[in-house]
Symmetry: C2
Subunit: 204 residues, 2 copies
């Protein structure tokens, strides 16, 4: 059976970054590639009435601490040493996500994603400041002017909105979200279930 | 290494019930028994500023639907056919949890838990109505008068409060919550991690 796996991602979510680091191993074990779909998490929150954990956890005892425990467990389990919480969090990722839409259209999404994630969550920078973005892109040998221009392109803007609307239509409410042949899985802790679902579909 | 596993439970939580159904298989595979600790989920919510998903999910698109998808997956994975959502939800479980504290003191907690969970989530009844509770206890051949009296006992009341306070002190914010040698795990979807942690501790 053909298996389609979508990863709906926004650079602003640390848990999406951590998922991104683990996806290559799942792709290698299953032989199935994840399609990266750029979405705007702020748009998903607005459309669903949901909010960022940074907002919903405010004033709640123990729950945020537990989230940090689960992050540490994930780092240990997957031997991740390239994660540093972005001190500028929350970072407005509108420009970066438009850049992702463009990079996908033109054909360098993989490299763009790796590099931007590094600038967000491994060597974190204030990636909603155009000067910082341009310097980071240049350091990564990405086409700076082309990307900065694309971020103002109507087609690019519309494509990001369309991705985000479709994501909500098929069930998204937060990040990271995965779809395996249309079946939704939410959260980095569900990557094991995602892999099992892929394997089950491949067998049948 | 000695392994202590605590299951902090309230009869009001469907996900705690579903965990309860799966725990015996984990106990059989690992040889380690779960200690059931009666807590008052409402008290945990009050102490932490958290709230029931029934409250926090209100008006949020897709998130509640996803919770239901995960419940269906859990039912399928564990071949559970004795779950029916309680039509009287949310049920105030104060009396039932006091009964659990007493049953534990006196030594019939296992049977009490099995029976009360059945009356809550397999053959659901309005278990915050004293007449309904008494009929259910009688049907289950539990000591009705003894339990109804115990629910008004100061020592029992205080013990439930103490359990709840300790639960929050060591990290609880919702239900179901597990502690493996003091390490917290939240949610029925973490039972696999709970089992792996038990096995890891047994090996070391």
């Amino acid at each position: 059976m053909a298996v389609s796996v979508e990863f709906h991602f926004d650079f602003g979510s640390p848990n999406a970054y951590l998922s991104h680091l683990v996806i290559p191993a799942i792709e290698a074990r299953t032989g199935v590639s994840f399609e990266y779909i750029p979405v705007l998490l702020g748009g998903i929150f607005k459309a669903t009435g949901n909010a960022s954990p940074a907002v919903t956890l405010q004033g709640i005892k123990n729950k945020g601490e537990y989230g940090n425990i689960e992050i540490r467990r994930f780092l240990t389990r997957h031997a991740i040493d390239n994660f540093e919480f972005n001190p500028h969090f929350p970072v407005n990722t509108l420009q970066l996500m438009r850049g992702a839409v463009y990079a996908k259209m033109v054909g360098f999404l993989d490299r763009y994603v790796d590099e931007v994630y590094r600038h967000m969550w491994a060597e974190p920078k204030k990636m909603d400041d155009n000067e910082v973005i341009e310097l980071a892109f240049a350091e990564s040998d990405l086409p700076v002017e082309e990307l900065m221009a694309a971020m103002q392109d109507t087609e690019v803007k519309q494509a990001l909105i369309a991705n985000t609307e479709r994501s909500v239509e098929i069930g998204s409410f937060g990040s990271p979200t995965f779809f395996v042949n249309g079946e939704i899985f939410f959260g980095k802790d569900k990557l094991r279930d995602v892999e099992e679902e892929i394997v089950a579909l491949l067998i049948h």
